[in-house]
Symmetry: C2
Subunit: 282 residues, 2 copies
């Protein structure tokens, strides 16, 4: 008899996504979280942390490209990078396409890195690059004592539950501010503007109290329930559109499948119905 | 005991969306399809045709604005309109914001209109306007004998199952072509570029064989599973960006919550990963 197994991820207590499972590859309780690896036809292999799909092999390039190339192209000459979370390696892989000097990866859970190396080779492929230093450490602690060190910080976090909660606190973003150079930029995923409005209403005022520039951009991430996903670009003054450097020289050498300069520019256009939610306009 | 009832909509046999149900308002088998009306917290009241959510009260403005204002603003002076399907009235409501002379609505199922009038007053509110003529008729037949009549035709259809199947056929679009004036435009929803690739791969070549101009645009529609939704703009030559008329005068009088000129322009930007799927590029 054919198995009919579905994985269900509820976003809040009102809505969720289901995906058919071909095979359960791994199911493990680590010191920090529940980790599951499933094979699906829709998303390819998926990495689930505490019940939330964090990586879908077929489409992860969209979120990792948008988290990474947006700040790196705006900065123009990024040398020192920090990725917080992101133990799967997707943000690191994208960042390594730029001529960076060093990427620190602060991931709290060694098992996420081990599991990604073994089960997600197309995502974790950059983790052995000599420019990458892996720190198995709480990202909030790692960043706390760094001062004016990083050109770009990428917070590649899971949802604000379990191990991810601390990455949604104002104190964390104050430390991120301190760790950035004067023209530094931080990006992070900020959930669905339809399904996670309470998280957005909580997070954006915190970001705005810390950073002079807080802009929202969008990209579709189909393995996140709700697909249409928001990201925050925060800086001490650098603007994601006005300061975007000409990317032609770089993009001839940097291969992407979703990100390009035009996609970058239109991702920041906010339709009226999201302005109150995301900009605090009345 | 508190009820825990969920409505589940599978997109294909691989993925789907679930939404918590507060109350079942109506469940009826009409001559053409199964119609269900449910109350939910996430989407407000929803209208379900043959198992697919067609209208979510809180967010329907996005899809109806994008189906309607995109072609109407490009045309610039639309007088004669045809809406095929769309018995809920949402497309008609948006179209009536323009100084049109007449809107023919061809809806096959009288019950959809009755149910929308009764249970979705904020959506159906334009159906009694004197400029609107309702034709309870198969849209494919209604359009077949019209020649060079309509400035804009909006195909506001459900998925290509049951009553909606005929609205995805090449012969239907040939008749639509014939019914359009030389500067006429047709728009229609064309499903999720992530979850409905087979439908898109089937439909777009048909559209391209009929219309010289076929462009895809995107908008998020959260009550459709997959949210990130594609729409087709087809014409005999009119281009959705190059021929967009200055909309300032009109938009001062036309109130929208999602659509504006900037949103219109960026909705047509295709990221690289969708170009092969949607433009037939190799």
């Amino acid at each position: 008899m054919k198995k009919d197994v579905w994985f269900e991820e509820k976003v809040n207590d009102q809505v969720g996504q289901i995906v058919r499972v071909k095979e359960v590859v791994l199911s493990e309780r680590t010191a920090y979280q529940q980790v599951d690896v499933l094979d699906t036809d829709q998303f390819g292999r998926i990495l689930i942390l505490d019940g939330a799909i964090n990586v879908g092999e077929k489409d992860e390039f969209i979120s990792h490209e948008m988290l990474t190339h947006v700040p790196l192209f705006v900065h123009g000459d990024p040398k020192m990078l920090l990725v917080i979370g992101g133990g799967d390696g997707g943000a690191v892989r994208e960042a390594l396409k730029h001529p960076v000097d060093r990427i620190d990866l602060a991931e709290i859970d060694q098992r996420v890195i081990d599991i990604s190396r073994r089960y997600f080779p197309s995502v974790s492929c950059g983790l052995n690059d000599p420019r990458v230093s892996i720190h198995i450490q709480d990202g909030t602690r790692f960043v706390a004592d760094k001062k004016s060190t990083y050109d770009v910080i990428i917070v590649d976090s899971t949802d604000p539950v379990g191990a991810g909660t601390a990455l949604y606190e104002e104190g964390f973003y104050r430390d991120v501010y301190g760790a950035l150079t004067p023209d530094g930029i931080v990006t992070t995923q900020t959930e669905s503007p339809f399904f996670d409005r309470n998280i957005i209403r909580d997070l954006y005022p915190k970001l705005r109290r810390v950073f002079p520039v807080v802009c929202t951009y969008f990209a579709p991430v189909p393995f996140y329930p709700g697909t249409y996903w928001s990201f925050a670009f925060c800086s001490k003054g650098v603007h994601p559109l006005n300061d975007l450097k000409p990317t032609k020289r770089l993009t001839r050498r940097i291969k992407t499948r979703y990100y390009d300069e035009q996609v970058h520019r239109v991702a920041f256009i906010l339709p009226a119905c999201f302005r109150e939610l995301l900009q605090g306009d009345k």
